[in-house]
Symmetry: C2
Subunit: 331 residues, 2 copies
């Protein structure tokens, strides 16, 4: 397999955490990695090969114009490495919008997909994650895009989590067909046509609600990028608030502190299960290549997971499966 191009300059903890994660991924997973970044600014890159890039797109830069102007940025060079057959996938913890724009402009869209979407796996205690998409690529969507998201989400859930016939639901505010905004009702109509689900071997289960996201009610939940991003960040906030409150409860008195110490390993397991880092980042689906978008705050652990996911998606040929699904839908 071609190496995975890792944007060494992207993320709040770049380049140190990124380079450390990349080196660990090579050691622990046996994958090959090429770092993309500014020579002399990446710290100790060990034996890793490097694609040189003289520019860095800042975390808060305007995505579209940055990608157009900064042709020698690490993000753009990483996407070009995939396009040019020098890398099998790209991974970045940098500016999300610029990562999407680089991938879209350099790799191009899969035929039949109007808009790429961010697919984010949400941890579900005791079960496979629920894949939520679009988690933020498109703040406004057309109803027909959600049918494409449904297909791509189904392919991804199968390739990533081994779910044979993924259950796909539409995020709404009631389970009945008539519930939701006019936009959601239109999406429901389009998604109720059995053709797309048959073509991708998915099961369309109709509307689901916010409370179903962290259950195994659905394997894939489709929504517009605004609602998806609000949902994702609401979950992150809830997780942080509840965990913070739990730590307070454990710190009530000497007895609870002792109990907390005894619970340590069990709670660590729980936290790592529920932590977004553990699922290894989001994927930009719909571009001609594997593009993993990791949290801005990615730790070395998160990078190892992101690189693992990237290599698995290359291995299983997810992009080919997405391409076939999009072609069959267009028939």
């Amino acid at each position: 397999m071609l190496p995975i191009a890792v944007d060494a300059m992207g993320g709040d903890n770049a380049p140190d955490a990124i380079v450390e994660g990349a080196r660990r991924a090579v050691d622990e997973l046996g994958v090959s990695v090429v770092l993309v970044g500014k020579p002399g600014e990446m710290g100790d890159t060990g034996d890793l090969p490097v694609i040189e890039a003289s520019e860095v797109i800042a975390m808060d830069a305007e995505p579209g114009s940055s990608v157009r102007k900064m042709k020698d940025s690490s993000l753009v060079r990483a996407a070009e490495a995939v396009r040019d057959g020098n890398a099998s996938a790209m991974v970045s913890a940098g500016n999300t919008g610029a990562t999407m724009a680089s991938a879209l402009l350099r790799m191009g869209r899969i035929k039949g997909i109007q808009r790429p979407a961010i697919a984010t796996p949400i941890p579900v205690p005791g079960s496979t994650p629920t894949t939520l998409l679009d988690a933020g690529a498109n703040a406004e969507c057309k109803p027909e895009w959600l049918v494409e998201f449904a297909q791509m989400g189904g392919v991804y859930a199968r390739d990533r989590f081994g779910i044979e016939r993924p259950k796909v639901g539409l995020l709404s505010i009631g389970e009945e067909a008539g519930k939701g905004s006019p936009f959601v009702k239109e999406c429901f109509e389009l998604l109720s046509d059995p053709a797309w689900a048959a073509a991708t071997d998915c099961e369309w289960i109709g509307n689901v609600e916010g409370r179903d996201v962290m259950t195994n009610e659905a394997d894939v939940i489709v929504t517009d990028g605004f609602t998806g991003n609000v949902t994702l960040k609401t979950l992150e906030g809830a997780m942080r608030a509840i965990m913070g409150r739990l730590l307070m409860a454990l710190d009530t008195d000497d007895d609870t502190r002792a109990a907390g110490a005894a619970l340590g390993p069990a709670l660590d397991t729980m936290v790592s299960e529920l932590h977004p880092d553990s699922v290894g980042g989001a994927l930009l689906l719909g571009v001609k290549g594997v593009c993993v978008i990791s949290h801005g705050s990615s730790s070395p652990d998160a990078m190892v997971n992101a690189i693992r996911v990237a290599s698995e998606m290359v291995e299983v040929e997810m992009v080919d499966h997405l391409t076939t699904a999009a072609a069959s839908a267009a028939d």
Copy 2:
């Protein structure tokens, strides 16, 4: 104070849990309550007075047509009791849509408010709750309605939680002004006009994100009823999933079970703080009367809290404050 009209027939656990909660509210809070329901079907109503209603709107009935047709339903009669000066407020754990429709059609709208909104307090560990509105009354909104929601939310946060100058944010997918859907950007523009905040003594803090809902970043968060409802239910689902996972962690082995037992009281405090029932239900803001919408699954405890909130909002004259705010905005 006039009695609070409690819909004895509404809710998954009606009438038993409702009547028990109403009786306990009278005993524990010293408020007066009038039950609204079918004579002979409410069980042991004790000394509570009753307004008779021969019909019950089912939990899954279509709200608009039910309210129009079932003029002798408990929900419609409860709203009429407020309108006619026979009750100071209404409380229901029944069909949410029908509760809204009854209140809107019988009590009428406050002048200057185009659409009532559901305001739901979200628990924030260690701080006052964040009031989220609209939490589901209007699946599609016009941008100008959100300015009214902001004013109403500010008045409510002050009256309910004693926050002198509530911080009001707009739910979006990035903190910068330019982030969000076209709808949200339009809302941002309108909310950036300082007039409404000055008139209601609020502080406009701009965009907030899903991760801020359970923090004290904002006291009030405005959004359309679709996004608000998804957010609310996502939080409920996260709470349930994380608590369920915590119970699993506590049940790992004999040591963790012992630790769990030692943690019992501290965890109970935590759960009751984070439980939606503890904040006492949502309010329908914008109608000419206090209308508390309690969870469909309301327990007697939840009803006691809902009745407490209703009586507090009557006592503090919240509806007058909303009316003044709406009038000043219209100037």
